[in-house]
C-alpha cells in the first residue's frame, strides 16, 4: 500500500494525479498535513512540478469542462482531514471515466465530495450573516472571523455589492488571510503580521446598543439555548460582539418559568 505526501501548493493534488497515472498505482491516501500511516503503508513524497499540474488540469477540463475544475478547487477550500484524499479520488475517477461523475451519489467518494461542497457553501451563507464589522478611526470597516473553511474571499463579494461605497477588511485570523476592499477592487493577501485596530469613538456606543437590543429581543418564557447553539455554534461566537459581554443577557434571561406548569419543557443544558 502506498500513500502520497503532497506539498502545500494549491494545485499539488494534480501532481499526485500525474504520478498516479504515470506509474499506474493507486494510493490509499493523499495528504499534506498530518497522517498516521498503517503498518504496511509506504509514504511517498510527491514534488510539486508546475508543468505536470498544468497537464492534469488540461485533462480535467477535457473530461468535465471548466466547471469540474472549479468545483475541485472549490472543495479544496475545505479544511477536512480527508479533503485531499476525497478530491484525489473524485478527480481520478472522473479522469479514468473521461467524464464528470460528481453527481453519481451512489458512489461513496462522490457523496463525500458532495457533502464537503455543501458544507462550504453552507458556511459561506451563514458567514454572510455572522460577520461583524467594527468602525476604525480611519473609517475602514474591520472584521475578524474564524471560519472552518478557507472562504474569506468567497464572502467578500457579498459585502462589495452591499457596501459599494465603503472600505472594509475581512480578516481570517485562523489562516492569516485578509480580503480588503478599497472602494473599487477586492484584494486578498496573506499576512502573518499582527494587526492593531484603533476603533472609532462611536463604535463602542453602537456595540452597546446592539448588545441591549440582543439582550431584550428574546421572549424569556421560551428560552431554548440548545436551539440557539444548533443554529449559532459556540465557535463562531468569539468574533461576534453581542456574545462578548454576556453578563447583561444572562440577567435579562434569568429563569422566569415558575408559572409555566410544565407545559413547555426547555430541554436545555447551559453548557454546549
Amino acid at each position: 500500500m502506498i500513500a502520497y505526501k503532497i506539498s502545500k501548493e494549491k494545485d499539488a493534488i494534480f501532481c499526485a494525479l500525474f504520478e498516479s497515472f504515470t506509474l499506474k498505482e493507486r494510493p490509499i491516501a493523499v495528504f499534506s498535513g498530518a497522517f498516521q500511516p498503517s503498518f504496511d503503508c509506504q509514504v511517498k513524497t510527491i514534488n510539486y512540478i508546475k508543468n505536470n499540474a498544468e497537464r492534469v488540469k488540461k485533462g480535467i477540463i477535457k473530461c468535465g469542462g471548466i466547471s469540474l475544475l472549479s468545483t475541485l478547487f472549490y472543495v479544496m477550500r475545505s479544511s477536512d482531514d480527508l479533503m485531499e484524499s476525497i478530491v484525489f479520488s473524485v478527480a481520478h475517477k472522473c479522469l479514468s471515466a473521461r467524464k464528470n461523475l460528481t453527481d453519481n451519489y451512489s458512489d461513496p467518494d462522490m457523496l463525500a465530495f458532495y457533502e464537503l461542497k455543501t458544507k462550504i457553501s453552507h458556511e459561506v451563507h451563514i458567514m454572510t450573516g455572522f460577520v461583524r464589522f467594527e468602525k476604525t478611526l480611519s473609517g475602514v470597516w474591520y472584521s475578524h472571523i474564524t471560519p472552518d473553511n478557507d472562504i474569506v474571499d468567497l464572502i467578500a463579494p457579498h459585502f462589495k455589492k452591499r457596501l459599494p461605497n465603503e472600505k472594509f477588511i475581512l480578516h481570517d485570523t485562523k489562516r492569516n488571510i485578509l480580503t480588503a476592499y478599497d472602494g473599487k477592487n477586492l484584494i486578498t493577501l496573506k499576512s502573518d503580521k499582527p494587526v492593531t485596530v484603533y476603533l472609532d469613538k462611536d463604535e463602542i456606543e453602537f456595540q452597546n446598543l446592539w448588545q441591549t437590543y440582543f439582550d431584550y429581543a428574546p421572549v424569556f418564557e421560551r428560552k431554548n439555548l440548545r436551539q440557539q447553539a444548533n443554529f449559532l455554534p459556540h465557535r463562531y461566537r468569539r468574533n461576534m460582539s453581542e456574545f462578548l459581554g454576556t453578563l447583561e443577557s444572562e440577567i435579562a434571561c434569568a429563569p422566569q418559568v415558575s408559572d409555566l406548569n410544565g407545559l413547555y419543557k426547555p430541554d436545555v443544558t447551559d453548557d454546549d
Binding site: 450573516g129 464589522f133 455589492k161 446598543l209 441591549t212
Partner: protein
C-alpha cells in the same frame, strides 16, 4: 442617537411580533447602502432560539387601544417610550453597516390615531430610502384603520407589509380587542392584496417585492385548529399572502378572567406550522388535514395523521410512484422527493439508497415499498405508536424498570 433605555423599551414591546424573515426580495443596490438577499440571511440567534434578521422595533409603545392580550395596551403598567424617524433611520444604518441586521422591521402602537401613526411610519421609511440611501430589506406593519392612500404609498417603498389578524374569529376580537373589528383588519389586507395583484399583472415588481404576511395568536381564544387552518387557506387563496405566522399565547399582562392564565404549549403552534407548510408546498387542502374533532392530532404530525386516515392509498412503490404521491408520504419531503425522482432514472432504489438520501425512514418505512419489498407495520395504531415513540412525544413513554413518577406508582398499584 437613541439612548439605551428607550431602545430597551421599544425592543421589549416589539418582541412578540413573530415574523423575522428577510426573504422574498432581491432589491439591488443603486449607489447607496445595502441590498436584499432573496433567500434571507439570519444574523444572530437569541436565547429563545429565534433568529435576528431584521431590527424589530416599535416607533412608539404608547398605545391608545386596550387589547387584552397585548403587552402594550394602555391599561397596562409598563414603561413607555417613542423614537423619532431620524433616530430609527440612524440606528438602522449604523447596525446595517456593522452587519448586525438585514434590514428594518418597523411596527408601532397606535399613538393618537391610526393615520397619525401610519404617517410617522411612512415618513421613517421614505427618509430611510430617499435621504439615507438605504436599499436593504424593510418590513412594515400596516396599521388597520389608516387611510388607504398612506398604506398604498408605503407599499412602493417597503419590501413586505403585514397586518396582524390577531385573533382567528370576530367573536374573540370583540371580546379581547374591542377597538378592532374583523372589517377594520380585513379591508386593508384586501386592498393591499388587490394593489399587489394589479402591480404583478403590470409586471411592476417594485410594489411589495416580498408580498404580504399576517400573524395570529393561538390559544388566547377558544378557536379550534380547524377554524385556524381554514382561515389560513382562505388567506392564501384570496389575498395571495406569502406567509401566515402563528404565535402561541404567552401571558404578558395583569391577570384577567377572559384570557388563559397559563402559556399555551409550543406543540400546538408547531403542528399548525406543519399544516401550514402542507398547504403551501405539498398540495394539501385544509379539509384533508383536519380531524373529526376539528383539531390536529398532537401525537403525530399532520401529514402522518392524514396518511393514517387514508391508509388504503399506501404503501406506494418508490420506484414508480408519481412525484405528487411521493410528496404525500410521511418522511419524504420536497428535497428527498426530487432526489428520488432524479435517482430512479439510473437505477432501482433500495431502502439503503433512501437512507443515503436522508429520507426519514422511521416514518416512511410504513408507507412505501422499495422494489416490491415492504418493511413496516400494517396496522394504523401500531404505526402511530411507533412514530410517536420515535419522535419522543411527551405523551408516549417506553417504560423501564425504574420509570419514575405516576407511571411507576400505577404499575406498583397494579392499575396499569
Amino acid at each position: 442617537m437613541i439612548d439605551k433605555e428607550r431602545l430597551k423599551i421599544l425592543t421589549e414591546s416589539a418582541k412578540y411580533d413573530v415574523s423575522c424573515s428577510s426573504s422574498g426580495s432581491a432589491r439591488k443596490n443603486n449607489g447607496g447602502v445595502g441590498n436584499a438577499s432573496y433567500g434571507g440571511i439570519c444574523h444572530s440567534f437569541t436565547q429563545d432560539g429565534r433568529c435576528i434578521s431584521l431590527l424589530k422595533i416599535l416607533m412608539s409603545n404608547k398605545c391608545s387601544y386596550d387589547c387584552l392580550y397585548c403587552v402594550n395596551r394602555y391599561s397596562n403598567d409598563i414603561p413607555r417610550a417613542s423614537a423619532t424617524p431620524d433616530e430609527i433611520c440612524e440606528l438602522t444604518m449604523e447596525f446595517y453597516k456593522r452587519n448586525y441586521i438585514e434590514g428594518l422591521f418597523l411596527s408601532s402602537a397606535v399613538e393618537g390615531s391610526p393615520d397619525r401613526t401610519m404617517e410617522l411610519m411612512l415618513e421613517t421609511v421614505i427618509k430611510l430610502r430617499k435621504v439615507y440611501g438605504f436599499y436593504g430589506y424593510i418590513h412594515l406593519k400596516g396599521i388597520p384603520g389608516a387611510d388607504k392612500i398612506l398604506l398604498d404609498r408605503a407599499g412602493s417603498y417597503v419590501d413586505r407589509m403585514s397586518y396582524n389578524i390577531e385573533l382567528p374569529s370576530e367573536k374573540s376580537l370583540k371580546l379581547l380587542a374591542p377597538q378592532k373589528s374583523k372589517k377594520s383588519i380585513l379591508v386593508p389586507m384586501a386592498n393591499t392584496a388587490e394593489e399587489y395583484i394589479i402591480a404583478r399583472k403590470e409586471k411592476n415588481h417594485r410594489f411589495l417585492p416580498a408580498g404580504q404576511t399576517t400573524q395570529m395568536i393561538i390559544g388566547a381564544s377558544p378557536e379550534t385548529d380547524g377554524q385556524i387552518i381554514r382561515l389560513t387557506e382562505g388567506l392564501y387563496d384570496k389575498f395571495q399572502l406569502k406567509r401566515v405566522y402563528y404565535s402561541s399565547y404567552v401571558p404578558t399582562n395583569s391577570k384577567t378572567a377572559l384570557l388563559p392564565q397559563d402559556p399555551v404549549g409550543l406543540l400546538r403552534e408547531h403542528r399548525l406550522y406543519q399544516a401550514d407548510w402542507l398547504l403551501r408546498f405539498y398540495g394539501f387542502k385544509a379539509e384533508e388535514l383536519i380531524d373529526k374533532d376539528e383539531n390536529l392530532d398532537p401525537t403525530v404530525d399532520p401529514k402522518c395523521s392524514w396518511a393514517l386516515k387514508n391508509i388504503h392509498l399506501f404503501p406506494v412503490e418508490v420506484n414508480t410512484a408519481s412525484p405528487e404521491m411521493l410528496l404525500r408520504v410521511p418522511g419524504i419531503g420536497f428535497k428527498s422527493a426530487s432526489k428520488i425522482v432524479a435517482a430512479r432514472r439510473y437505477a432501482k432504489l433500495d431502502f439503503c439508497d433512501l437512507i443515503k438520501m436522508r429520507v426519514a425512514l422511521k416514518r416512511a418505512v410504513h408507507f412505501i415499498t422499495c422494489d416490491g419489498k415492504f418493511g413496516g407495520q400494517e396496522k394504523p395504531t401500531a404505526i402511530k405508536n411507533l412514530i410517536a415513540l420515535s419522535e419522543r412525544a411527551d405523551t408516549f413513554e417506553q417504560m423501564s424498570m425504574f420509570s419514575n413518577g405516576e407511571i411507576s406508582f400505577s404499575v406498583l398499584g397494579g392499575e396499569l
